[in-house]
């Protein structure tokens, strides 16, 4: 990975087996809170942990699911749903978009591209 610039560095955030399936976990990285979701078909998603609606760090404790095939996360506070692919709010047009991060599993480790 030495040829890549620092902004695209992948950082290991934990062992894949430590992440519960279909649930979220929150990791701390560079002072930011990132929610990581491992879905049952082996897909990984990472978004900001803060729900933009009332700015609380709770998305990792929400429910995962899908809307018409689009994987989503639903906030536990007021049930707003966000696309895990794009971070867009599915419930209304006013709530702002989630920041998303590239995330992958390699050799049993979970890596995230942060920066």
């Amino acid at each position: 990975m030495s040829e890549e610039s620092t902004s695209t560095l992948w950082t290991v955030v934990g062992k894949a087996e430590e992440f519960a399936e279909d649930l979220g976990s929150c990791i701390e990285m560079g002072g930011e809170q990132i929610a990581i979701f491992k879905l049952s078909d082996g897909e990984w998603y990472a978004t900001q942990n803060m729900c933009p609606h009332e700015k609380k760090m709770v998305l990792s404790r929400g429910l995962t699911g899908d809307a018409n095939g689009e994987p989503k996360i639903t906030c536990p506070l007021h049930k707003r749903s966000f696309s895990l692919n794009t971070g867009e709010c599915i419930t209304d047009n006013e709530t702002s978009c989630l920041k998303t991060y590239p995330v992958k599993e390699e050799d049993g480790k979970v890596l995230i591209q942060f920066g």
Binding site: I36, M57, L63, G65, L77, R80, T91, D92
Partner: protein, 837 residues
């Protein structure tokens, strides 16, 4: 282009409404708005004037703060009244000598109280009830007075009488006519109203013409035409209103023979550049003495001035109000001279009077009066205004609630103006037009109307309304749980029972539509699995289905912390256990509050601390209170015959037994219960899903009550039961509810949706009409026998304990949580405080 002056004389509620309407409609800012206000403060809410006595300040009642006028470019002349109109030169002159030219003039001078010319009326201690200054005078005088009389038994008079009573005075109402509220109610209604008002400690004197106010300079009494006298040292006159038409009169505008500025459909006076609105306007020989028609007039004039067509066509004078704690409503025409039929229900004991006036063929509602219980007002008014054909037996419409056969009004019967979502102020009309424009699912409706996106408390009502409207429009109503399951909750429950499927993934694969599930079906299926198998809700295969509350066995709060509620069965707790709760709260810095269900709620717990908190509580003998689950909350109780001198049974012991029997059982929604030891009902059992009230001979069982957003009194299901029968009936009631109710439906709504209602429940539970009682009994016994404390399970399992962390890569708490102190306890920091920190 220079702007045109619009001058508004009078800054009362209607004048202010006109200004607000102009600001909204005059999008090109074509006009200068200028208003004269003779009072020292801008317009305030006269409708709620009495609240000034109960602690509201003049600021609270103010409609728009003074800044609103200046910020919006309105010139307001306070404490200055218009004294003449020069119509030829289109100029208004004020008392302070200001001269203002107008292009258009609006008369919104309102009315003054009519003070009958009784000798002595000028004496000290006589008041009218109109302005804040009047009220201040009354309050001052009341300090040295003991007895007050209100002259006039109309709406305002009764309100004034209540106000004098609240000031600590002995209170009398003196009415010239033979009944109270002569304009709104008939003889019989007036009699019941009199009884109600006298039962509240006010004296009512009818057929009394006041001939003299007695006293030497100060009020000492009243003399009446019939020779009687009444000793009082304060009098409030509320004998009707007189339009303030003197300016109009002096400037030569046409006025009515008994006052009021004559206006046409455009609300123009005899001078087309002068309009009159509100209580000064005489339309069709009628003065509209209510605020709503005045507001309507203000909007209509504003529309015309800004280029829209609008006309006044009269207004409905229906009213509903709370008068001295009693509902009083009248709607439609109650003084019809056409042939008609009357349907009357009276109950002098309960203080109920309801009268419907129908067309001669009984098909149309012409008007009516409701006293004591005006719940049906909205529906009846809509039926009257829209000429909705009456049902065959219209009396059903006014039968007291809970009398069994009264037809339940679905959302279809609500008026369009009914507010469905109070957080976002969304009316039924808003929702219906969104549905007509193509929103056919709840998520779509939420998106375009914002209904149910605040607290979410109205989601069930919105869904009901959606289904109702879709049916009306000929659409098939979709009762699917969500896009992942084309089944209702009831159907899924049956599938789980008959197939013994024990996990979500299998259920989705074999009976669903694919996908990953969602926030709707996952918790619903988790609840069904728990109701059927009583598996642990945080067992591995269930854990991922649970909403945050069930997942962390605690209630998530607005700042992402949790609340902790240990079970306190029946509200009975030892001092030692109280001390433990206190110690835990202190150690973890938790906000402590007593709940309505007789237990103690500890707020502000961080997710990482939950296991340690519960370890301490569990060690002291506490169990989970399931405040986080769709499950039994508490069984509230009074102390019953053990301590209370009125108690006839031991309500506390029964409450504890009932709470322990049903604790932890998952249901379509939360369940609340209570046991009262006598008919005084201190435990408020009739507001619970199932409530028990002791009798001399046993226990009465009430079902389907609710104290929440749509309160419902529980219905008496069976009387004088022995304990075994009582428990058996509750077992069956709960199990039948769990089996058949829709997701997130409380028992109150479920009971109302059952065809046959309480009678059907009695057939099923007592007569076993469906032949399922044996099965219901067994299923309930299974759930009771397999109870486990979820928190005890969690803290004994290291794997589960790992889940209670905010970060998976650190042991830290969420650093963004900020709390501040208020009244010696923590609370979440508000936005302002967070911004500062």
């Amino acid at each position: 282009m220079s702007k045109e002056n619009i001058v508004v004389i009078g800054n009362g509620m209607v004048g202010c409404k006109f200004l607000a309407a102009m600001l909204q409609k005059d999008v090109d800012s074509r006009f200068n708005l200028i208003t004269f206000c003779e009072e020292p403060r801008p317009a305030y809410d006269r409708v709620h004037l009495s609240e000034y006595f109960s602690g509201k300040t003049a600021e609270d009642l103010t409609l728009q703060p003074i800044d609103w006028y200046t910020d919006n470019g309105i010139t307001i002349h306070l404490e200055d009244k218009a004294v003449s109109i020069d119509r030829e030169n289109k100029k208004v002159t004020s008392a302070k000598g200001l001269e203002v030219e107008y292009h258009t003039l609006i008369l919104a001078t309102g009315s003054t109280p009519f003070v009958p010319p009784v000798p002595g009326i000028e004496k000290e201690g006589v008041f009218v009830y109109r302005t804040i200054e009047d009220l201040e005078g009354m309050m001052e005088h009341a300090k040295k007075a003991t007895k007050a009389a209100v002259v006039g038994g109309g709406l305002l008079g009764l309100e004034a009488a209540k106000a004098t009573q609240d000031l600590g005075l002995e209170s009398h109402v003196v009415e010239f006519a033979s009944r109270l509220m002569p304009r709104q109610v008939d003889e019989e209604g007036g009699q019941i109203l009199k009884d109600i008002i006298e039962s509240r400690g006010l004296s009512v004197h009818l057929n009394k013409a006041t001939t003299d106010i007695l006293g030497d300079g100060k009020v000492e009494g009243m003399a009446f035409k019939d020779g009687s006298q009444l000793d009082v040292d304060m009098i409030v006159v509320s004998a009707g209103i007189r339009p303030r038409d003197e300016l109009a009169r002096e400037s030569g505008l046409e006025v009515g023979p008994r006052g009021g500025v004559v206006v046409n459909d455009q609300l123009q006076t005899s001078d087309p550049s002068i309009y009159a609105i509100g209580e000064v306007a005489l339309y069709n020989n009628f003065i509209y003495g209510l605020v709503a028609p005045g507001y309507n007039m203000a909007e209509i004039v504003a529309d015309q001035l800004t280029g829209s067509e609008a006309a006044f066509t009269g207004a409905d004078m229906s009213t509903k109000l709370k008068l001295i704690g009693t509902d009083v409503a009248s709607f439609g025409n109650i003084e019809t001279t056409e042939p008609h039929k009357d349907i009357v229900i009276t109950d002098p004991v309960k203080g109920l009077y309801k009268r419907l006036i129908t067309s001669e063929d009984g098909k149309q509602l012409i008007g009516g009066i409701l006293i004591g219980d005006a719940d049906a007002y909205g529906n009846l008014l809509q039926m009257t205004l829209n000429n909705i054909e009456l049902p065959e037996d219209p009396m059903q419409l006014i039968l007291p609630a809970g009398s069994g056969d009264a037809p339940a009004f679905g959302p279809g019967a609500l008026p369009d103006s009914a507010q469905i979502c109070s957080c976002e102020n969304v009316t039924k009309g808003d929702i219906c037009s969104a549905i007509e424009n193509g929103a056919t699912t709840l998520p779509e409706l939420k998106k375009c109307t914002k209904a149910a996106t605040g607290c979410g408390g109205c989601a069930a009502l919105v869904t009901n309304l959606l289904n109702h409207q879709l049916k009306e429009m000929g659409h098939e109503v979709n009762t699917d749980l969500c896009e992942h399951f084309s089944h209702t909750r009831q159907e899924l429950y049956q599938i789980v029972r008959t197939t013994d499927i024990e996990d979500f993934d299998t259920l989705l694969a074999e009976h669903g539509n694919g996908g990953r599930g969602c926030e709707l079906c996952k918790p619903a299926v988790a609840s069904i699995l728990a109701s059927v198998h009583n598996d642990k809700v945080i067992a591995k295969h269930n854990h991922k289905l649970q909403d945050s509350n069930d997942r962390f066995l605690a209630n998530i709060q607005k700042d992402g912390t949790y609340s902790v509620v240990p079970r306190v069965p029946g509200g009975e707790i030892t001092p030692d256990k109280l001390i433990v709760i206190g110690e835990v709260a202190k150690e973890y810095n938790l906000y402590t509050k007593i709940t309505g269900g007789q237990r103690i709620d500890l707020f502000g717990a961080k997710v990482n601390d939950l296991p340690a908190i519960w370890k301490k509580l569990t060690d002291a003998g506490f169990e989970s209170g399931h405040a986080y689950g769709k499950a039994l909350r508490t069984v509230k109780s009074c102390v019953g015959s053990t301590w209370c001198r009125f108690g006839v049974q031991d309500s506390t012991s029964l409450a504890i037994e009932v709470e322990n029997r049903y604790k932890g059982i998952r249901a379509p929604h939360k369940l609340k219960s209570a046991v009262s030891g006598c008919t005084r009902e201190c435990a408020e059992a009739q507001s619970k899903d199932f409530g028990i009230i002791a009798t001399e001979n046993g226990w009465n069982l009430y079902l389907g009550g609710n104290g929440g957003m749509k309160p419902r009194h529980a219905d008496l299901f069976a009387s004088d039961l022995d304990k075994e029968t009582l428990i058996k009936y509750i077992d069956r009631f709960l199990m039948y509810y769990i089996k058949t109710a829709d997701k997130l439906t409380r028992t109150s709504v479920w009971v109302e949706s059952l065809e046959g209602g309480m009678d059907h429940l009695r057939d099923v539970i007592i007569e076993d009409s469906l032949g399922i009682c044996d099965e219901l009994d067994k299923q309930m016994q299974h759930l009771v026998d397999t109870y486990h404390c979820e928190w005890k399970d969690a803290i004994e399992d290291p794997e589960k304990l790992k889940r209670f962390r905010h970060f998976s890569n650190s042991e830290s708490h969420d650093p963004t949580i900020k709390q501040v102190l208020e009244r010696d306890q923590i609370r979440p920091a508000n936005e302002e405080e967070l911004a500062k920190a």
